[in-house]
Symmetry: C2
Subunit: 610 residues, 2 copies
Amino acid sequence: MSYKYAYNTRDIKFILKEWLPLDDVLSWDRYKDYYSKDDVDVLVDQVRKVAEEIVAPTADDADKIGARWEDGKVYLPPSFHGAIKFLQEQGWGASTFDFEAEGGIPLTIYFLLWEMLSAANPGMMSYVSNGGAVANVIYHYAQDYLKEMFLPDLYAGTWGGSMCLTEPSVGSDVGGLLTKAIPTDDPRIYKIKGQKIFITVGDRDDIDQVVHLVLARVEGAAPGTKGLSLFITPKLWVNEDGSLTPNDVQTAGIEHKLGLKGSATCQLVFGEENNCRGWLMGPAPDENGVGMGIVQMFNMMNEARLDTGRLALAVTANAYWNAKDYGKDRVQGNLLSNPKAGKVSINQHEDVKRMYLLNKATTEACRALLAKCYYYEDAREFAPTPEKRKWAQDKLDMLTPLCKAYPSDEAWGLIAESLQSYGGYGYCEDYPAANSARDCKIWSIWEGTNYIQALDLIGRKWMQKKGTLFAGILGEIDEFLAENKGKLPGLEQEMAHLEKALGAYRQTQMAIGKYVQSGKVGLMATYARRILTATAQLYCGYLLLDQAKIALARMEELGSDHYDYNFYLGKIFSTRYYLNNAVPNVWHTLELVQIGDTSCMEAPVEIFEY
Amino acid sequence: MSYKYAYNTRDIKFILKEWLPLDDVLSWDRYKDYYSKDDVDVLVDQVRKVAEEIVAPTADDADKIGARWEDGKVYLPPSFHGAIKFLQEQGWGASTFDFEAEGGIPLTIYFLLWEMLSAANPGMMSYVSNGGAVANVIYHYAQDYLKEMFLPDLYAGTWGGSMCLTEPSVGSDVGGLLTKAIPTDDPRIYKIKGQKIFITVGDRDDIDQVVHLVLARVEGAAPGTKGLSLFITPKLWVNEDGSLTPNDVQTAGIEHKLGLKGSATCQLVFGEENNCRGWLMGPAPDENGVGMGIVQMFNMMNEARLDTGRLALAVTANAYWNAKDYGKDRVQGNLLSNPKAGKVSINQHEDVKRMYLLNKATTEACRALLAKCYYYEDAREFAPTPEKRKWAQDKLDMLTPLCKAYPSDEAWGLIAESLQSYGGYGYCEDYPAANSARDCKIWSIWEGTNYIQALDLIGRKWMQKKGTLFAGILGEIDEFLAENKGKLPGLEQEMAHLEKALGAYRQTQMAIGKYVQSGKVGLMATYARRILTATAQLYCGYLLLDQAKIALARMEELGSDHYDYNFYLGKIFSTRYYLNNAVPNVWHTLELVQIGDTSCMEAPVEIFEY
């Protein structure tokens, strides 16, 4: 078996029990009678077990059998059926998003559990998650009769869901999409006509119904994104008596991908026989032809962006833990720093430790970033006051592009280092790293490419509410530095690097501002992706130091003989590595921005012939 | 067809006709009556045609059919047979290494032609090249009777070759290998017993004979690398009458790899029936048990290291040129810097241009580095004076680790950017980027991992001959700066960056020297790979500026209306991009080294459990 589940739960427990304000979460009305901090260990251990015993055994089928398309239908690897059903039935699927049911698990916890499941078979999890994501949009935006019609089955997982955005000619440029919605006699219902591609789990054979959320333009509505509306367009039309009949949605094929082969990436044709109907969600386009579609879609899209980062993190961390397991047993060579000690296991070589520490530090950084946002996702929905809900939404808005792009950008390089640490075996599919590398590459592309994320960050989020929201993110770091400077023994250099990086980052913002003002907006585009990375490194550097603060206290308390000491010590090493190796990139990026190389702006396309 | 050959020849012609001292090469005895500069265009165009029409059509079979292993035999994709034979017969194969034949093509030219062929089907080319590489070792080190026995068929390509080094328990730690050589009554012949893995094209069905060069230890010889000897161990024993009989070499299996699937990566068992014989190459181990094996093997290994860099470059450049072809036709979105101009092809977007320019600049940098070394390879063999041959060998020694590691490290990130530029299509195997990504990953591992290359550079090459040889490499940059400062209009900032990088690099050397002296050799290991990258960036920055100097003169001469102007203009853009975006990493690396993070040295392995 080439795929191996190697997830460790300790950091997840630390985040929930010692780092995030879980007491706050558990005091909210929705949760207070149902959950306590003591449940964390049980939940995490239970889901770890499910991930390993129920989900992970399907991972090889994902890659070797893959989703198949035959005669217009998608077939999952047979082993998926039972695993998906199990997850739904046990409450790890869409039912979490039934916000009106009692006893729902706190989202803060849920998404961290989901990370463990994702690592076990990343491609399969979309079959489990997409119904919930679709339900969530319907819950927030649809009319009551639509909620009644669709939510129960979506929550139960007996119906699936998909998000239909991309078309053959339109990906990043959403505003240009061509799918049409034609009014019918019933103002609630439109005829849908168009082609959608890259539709994740757009068809499946484990259940009959897939509820597609289709972004389309009502005839005559405004051009661009503002003219778009969202239509609940089920694969099977729901008749008044509840019976289901085909709705002229054809699956024209699936993609043959580098990885993530268990997840069917579908080409869908809506209304080829002019007989596809969709329910308009929310109001019709207004008198200016402006629809609600893009706003509604972004609700799902933002969830999907966090989900993307989580998938990337999960697969990267699993690759790393597999690599370090291999490194414990593989004996090879003498230590450069102590050649006389004889042959050692490779996990003792400095360069191998560097590859591990790079992975450990960066995955912990990503997990901290994402976990913080899970808390915000939870708070924007369930915090007791509107102010706090708004506060959480604002924080989430600022950090979402980082959550999507940073883990998915890093995954490629990190998994390559895990793979490298095996030597030649890493290149063989019998070992897990190759599969992880193939799986991860889509995440820098889908749900808005990482360049789109970078533009969202720099071109929108930086400026939103006159820059006050993003200034609040940087302000957290100011506060942390003010509170903790001189108080983290052994991490003085690391604190200094955080401070230096924060200053450099603000200068970077100013430099980009000046470029834009002087008409060199092309420089913003040129440096956007690098600045996004630097942003994540700055913010994650702060988060790791914030965690290290707790770790230092716990180490003091436990003493080095305690069985749990090494976890906290590891946290210190992650912090040291990250602040001394990744965070300097923040001011290095400033320097690149200041160089202000205009070659990408000025290069005529003809030179790329050579 | 997913694989597409998109190679452009212009930079190769530029390198040969305008940049490298080809006049010098063509004045050497071996070449002067046979070749002139006028032949370059014809040769390049001809091989480009062979690559596209004969080799590239086999690439899809490489990936989709792959090499198969059945009942102890390796079968190539059927289309390989004709293509391999064609290349051999037309003189693009092993016959180039017949240094005593008349009319041999200059190596300087040959290796650049080979780059084009490699891009067309990288996995297949090992079947063509390995026989030549084995012949080359035999030519330089073997006794005359062995030359007579093996060289003619190897040169003709009717026999293949392999290099047998790695064993299941031994990869990087060559000195630990276990294969034994047991003396027989004939002092020239030993019984060989052992297992070798990861043997590239170790078996094949297009020809019967494979001549294995097996690294083994004569019983009783010294431990470690110095006790090793090299044995010509053919798959079929060559009897005195020239007939061939099985030599107890079994192919126990092949690896299932991430990519490069056409190239059979074999597990070989020598002497399972105690009946495998090998010819000792050169003298037997001396009275101290010291053999010649590792020295001889390194002759082939160093060739293989350049070959690795060339393969990585070829696949990366082909992926880039495919991407830019796609980008010309794909219309998507409005320009950030000029939104009112309407929808544009994606190759006009700044971030896409950045991905292309990053690829263009870095592949041109790698090609310049490798091409310079092809010249040294040529000169060390055929330059008229021993002094010049020695000079070329020394240069080659210094630059070999860069040639192997830099292109193979960069390939992964560069191809990811080519892939990214397609959007979702990049992740689909119907487009060529995914295949290129899978193919390229082995090159950072085989022929000595890139960490081994980095240690070779920093731990050996820096110090060789008291540091004078490597100082000579840096001295080239001093000279270039002294000669050209203020003389490259428009590239003043770029020249300043080169100068700053050179200074920073020398400080990096001093910093590492101090760490080693103060017992912190672990810091050398920690930063080795990053310093290797910085070394390549420094040296390639110089090479690109050296090329830009020619380009500036040619642009002046031709004027912007000339059909060839854009090639030279592109060279300027490559130089600008590289010096403003890659070369600053040289001083950024210095800063990281100066931070001197000891976390990789100090981290106990226990922390990697989390």
